[in-house]
């Protein structure tokens, strides 16, 4: 993955607007969080291949970045994004990695199921 380029990601968000898309949304502290450090509270969630459609969306911040997608009846929001996959021309793959390179958060959109 590459470090996020704000303009290119915004362009990709625009190009997927108004279509029925498959969403993968995820956030995790890792299953070993409290094993390695008992002060940590392990938490995670993910939802994969649920269908969504947004009419308005943008990426914001100076890095790590935030993305908000406005749907007819709700929102999709992610904070802490650092990387994207530039070579994926049909999909939007965004991830946030911590200082050790571990994935903390992911937001992915695709016309086909993941």
């Amino acid at each position: 993955m590459q470090l996020i380029n704000l303009e290119k990601v915004q362009h990709r968000i625009e190009s997927l607007k108004g279509e029925e898309l498959y969403l993968h949304l995820e956030m995790t502290t890792g299953a070993y969080a409290s094993h390695l450090d008992s002060t940590k509270h392990p938490a995670a969630n993910f939802i994969t291949n649920t269908k969504i459609k947004y009419d308005h969306g943008s990426i914001a911040g100076i890095g790590p970045y935030r993305v908000g997608l406005k749907m007819a009846e709700g929102w999709i929001y992610t904070e802490g994004l650092t990387h994207w996959e530039e070579e994926e021309s049909e999909r939007l793959l965004l991830a946030g990695h911590d200082g050790q390179g571990k994935l903390v958060v992911a937001l992915q959109l695709s016309r086909e199921p993941f």
Binding site: M1, T28, Y32, E88, A95
Partner: protein, 229 residues
């Protein structure tokens, strides 16, 4: 504590773990030793570790490509150890504890019936930290527990939760695998999206005493199926 000295010639061994790389630190030296003695190893890996958090540094994998990358890493690790038979069962990473138990157990039961192993390696249920590890061990124990007693293999369990020694006591088997550090470290290094070899070895070599002590021992607890009988 004892060293495992059984005659393992032509023995069938089944290894069941949920994630590619679970084999590397825990059992790879022991397996290489078994293989050298003539054993046939089947490794049933329940998932492709597709929800892993490590993507390499810098990240060469992503959520979408990770399962493909980890599949190749797993194949390379098995090759390094000498494992003859790798089965990737295709369950979803992180979801083993929520999986249909009938489906999960039936796949393990089919493997046990096919291979008739005399030894099984898996995670000790309740003492293995990751929910997938515990659920994997539970399924193995459940399925073997249903076999007639004379058909039950010995189950060597890996345990590493904070309280494991408190409850389980000292390991029943401690294998000296210092002679097998080359396949072991090659197995670990095969999982390059997950571990940075440089981080593990630092500037040290395999011959270094500290490395030999850190990676040169593998510990197992025998699952007590028939304690009260």
């Amino acid at each position: 504590m004892r060293e495992e000295n059984r005659d393992v010639m032509s023995e069938n061994i089944l290894v069941v773990f949920p994630h590619p790389d679970d084999e590397a630190f825990t059992v790879s030296g022991t397996l290489a030793k078994h293989i050298e003695a003539g054993a046939h190893i089947t490794y049933a890996c329940l998932t492709l570790g597709e929800m892993g958090r490590n993507m390499g540094i810098p990240p060469f994998a992503n959520r979408v490509t990770l399962p493909h990358i980890r599949k190749i890493e797993l194949e390379r690790s098995c090759e390094a150890i000498g494992i003859q038979d790798l089965r990737m069962l295709g369950f979803h990473d992180k979801m083993i504890e929520f999986e249909d138990q009938v489906l999960l157990d039936s796949q393990l039961d089919a493997l046990l019936k096919e291979l008739r192993p005399t030894i099984v390696y898996t995670f000790y249920p309740g003492f293995s930290v990751h929910p997938d590890h515990d659920a994997c061990g539970e399924s193995v124990i459940r399925t073997i527990g249903r076999l007639p007693q004379e058909e039950q293999p010995i189950v060597y369990c890996v345990a590493f939760s904070k309280n494991h020694q408190e409850v389980l006591g000292k390991p029943h088997v401690v294998n000296d695998v210092k002679e097998y550090l080359k396949p072991k470290m090659t197995s670990i290094e095969a999982h390059r999206s997950q571990f940075q070899a440089a981080e593990l070895l630092g500037s040290k070599k395999l011959e270094d005493e500290e490395i030999r002590e850190r990676y040169g021992w593998e510990r197992f607890w025998i699952y007590p199926f028939h304690v009260s009988e």
